[in-house]
């Protein structure tokens, strides 16, 4: 047996388990067990991360809003997710009499399946990817697109005006923001020449001076990363883009009529797809499982992936606690008039970056190509609009 290596410990564990069982079990069963050994850790780890994030989010939002957050269950309230889970399991499952029973039942299931499937192509460490598809990135977006249909199914089958309005908003928003999301990843595909997430991570190995060769440290990569994260936020229906479930307008949007464990499934799917899309952002722009400095290579690759993931999660919680919700027209205008032109221009910037020789001129030209349109477009869209601090005449 090979010496234990902290970086490959999980891969070695799997091989060791398989070699242990190889003598006892027939080959077809062994193949099934090998598949299960790849799938079960993904489900367990990310479901645990879901539990951790719910408590982190509630505590963090509490701090931002100047209150304590959950602090009764367990030490400092950290067992709150367990209490929530048990509560969801033992609650009565209510289905409206007018609801379309079959579609109503199928919707949360159809929503969770793609949310879990996309993890198949995410490299969460060196040699740690369930399936190394040649077209992995395409798989990610293709499977992710199925969740729009599930959201629609949930909203339509509930026979509730709030649910239907929420579903319509959600689908319109997801379709709109999918375009900048995919366009911002296309620049990475263009420059690496591959659709495989594993090869995209490998393309970001190495260091240029102090900074690692991650794409986020190039002008086009930085712009792409920001566009990607904003679109990811909108795809995940999180504040400031949480109009589909805006509680002050639509009760809970498309899952108004869900209760008990089905409701929990909606939450699970939402957070799982948030982790998945953050993981994709890490893979595409933040160097995947690579360490930021050569001196830190002794830390295992999977630890880097999860540290980056936690960092992005904190960013998402912070955004949620800071920004107010947009209006529908603002949301659509932002996607079509601002994000889309910038994403298209970013493709051009990436091409310029590819064909110019390395050096300061390349940085200056590409930086100008990113910053110029940003400032001009922003100023242009704000022109003629009266944007100023709101003055309350009587409330002060």
């Amino acid at each position: 047996m090979m010496p234990l290596d902290s970086d490959q410990i999980f891969v070695q564990l799997k091989h060791w388990l398989l070699s242990l069982l190889a003598g006892v079990l027939p080959a077809p069963l062994l193949a099934v067990i090998s598949v299960l050994l790849s799938i079960i850790p993904i489900i367990v780890v990310f479901a645990t991360l879901f539990a951790i994030m719910t408590i982190m989010e509630r505590k963090g939002l509490g701090r931002i809003q100047n209150r304590y957050g959950p602090n009764r269950v367990g030490p400092f309230g950290f067992l709150q997710p367990a209490a929530d889970g048990i509560k969801a399991l033992i609650k009565e499952d209510l289905v409206p009499r007018a609801a379309d029973q079959v579609v109503h039942l199928l919707a949360p299931v159809v929503l969770v399946i793609p949310a879990l499937l996309v993890y198949a192509v995410l490299p969460i460490g060196r040699n740690m990817v369930a399936i190394d598809f040649d077209a992995g990135l395409l798989f990610f977006f293709a499977v992710g697109a199925a969740s729009e249909l599930a959201v629609f199914m949930a909203g339509w089958s509930s026979r509730n005006k709030y649910a239907l309005l929420g579903a319509m908003r959600a689908v319109a928003q997801m379709v709109s923001y999918e375009i900048p999301l995919i366009l911002s990843t296309v620049s990475v595909v263009m420059l690496t020449g591959t659709l495989s997430p594993v090869k995209i991570v490998e393309a970001q190995a190495g260091h240029a001076g102090l900074l690692p060769d991650w794409f986020v440290f190039t002008p086009w990569g930085f712009a792409g990363f920001v566009l990607f994260m904003i679109s990811a936020n909108a795809e995940a229906n999180r504040s400031p883009f949480d109009l589909p479930e805006g509680e002050s307008e639509l009760v809970a949007g498309y899952f108004t009529e869900y209760s008990g464990f089905k409701f929990a499934l909606f939450f699970l799917a939402e957070y799982l797809s948030l982790f998945a899309i953050s993981g994709l952002g890490i893979t595409l722009f933040l160097g995947g499982w690579q360490a930021p400095f050569a001196a830190l290579d002794f830390v295992p690759s999977w630890a880097w992936f999860f540290m980056k993931l936690l960092g992005l999660i904190v960013l998402f919680i912070w955004t949620r606690g800071t920004l107010p919700r947009l209006r529908v027209d603002q949301l659509m205008n932002f996607a079509w008039k601002f994000m889309l032109p910038l994403a298209l221009l970013n493709l051009f910037t990436a091409a310029v970056w590819h064909y110019m020789p390395p050096g300061l001129p390349r940085w200056l030209v590409c930086g100008a190509l990113v910053a110029g349109p940003y400032v001009l477009l922003g100023r242009g869209l704000l022109a003629g609009k009266n944007i100023a601090k709101r003055i309350y005449r009587y409330a002060d």
């Binding site: 040649d134 077209a135 293709a142 697109a145 379709v175 999918e178 375009i179 889309l340």
Partner: protein, 165 residues
């Protein structure tokens, strides 16, 4: 025929049949989406990854949503009470049989059926990309231009705002 193919075929045909016979228009649209997924699975079963993923991305992600929205925005919520099979169903049956006959005739006479089986080509994404960028670059560029023009056109239509006085 292999077992995976049989499973996929049964699911796809069942979904397609449901899309034709169900009364509720939204149910039909969802069944069509199911049939699209089945087709994608059939492509994947033939190890045509790129086509399979593109099928899901385009048909389930976009076309099914479009159908559902169109159905929702144009009709009332209640399903129609008319019979599923319209009265001249025997004429439809005749047309169906005629089409089936032509298809069977074409398939049997096709030279593809007599050709010797070549080993499955390695249709990697890279090769598809190479083919698109060299042999079929002109159609690709034309389609790209058309789609970009449509996209920019949509933005320009959306940009027009009526100035309030």
């Amino acid at each position: 025929m292999s077992l995976p193919f049989l499973i996929i075929a049964v699911i796809t045909i069942a979904a397609a049949a449901a899309a034709m016979t169900l009364r509720n228009l939204i149910h039909c649209a969802l069944a069509v989406a199911g049939a699209f997924v089945g087709l994608a699975a059939a492509y994947l079963n033939l190890s045509a990854q790129f086509v399979g993923f593109a099928q899901v991305l385009v048909y389930v992600g976009a076309v099914a949503i479009l159908i559902v929205f169109a159905a929702l925005l144009t009709r009332g919520g209640e399903p129609s009470q008319a019979a599923v099979f319209s009265p001249p169903w025997f004429a439809g049956l005749g047309v169906t049989l005629a089409v089936l006959g032509v298809l069977v005739w074409a398939v049997i006479r096709s030279f593809l059926i007599r050709r010797e089986l070549v080993p499955a080509p390695e249709a990697a994404v890279k090769q598809i990309g190479d083919a698109l960028m060299h042999k079929y670059v002109l159609p690709l560029e034309v389609v790209g231009l058309l789609l970009t023009a449509a996209l920019i056109g949509a933005v320009i239509i959306a940009l027009k705002e009526e100035r309030k006085k």
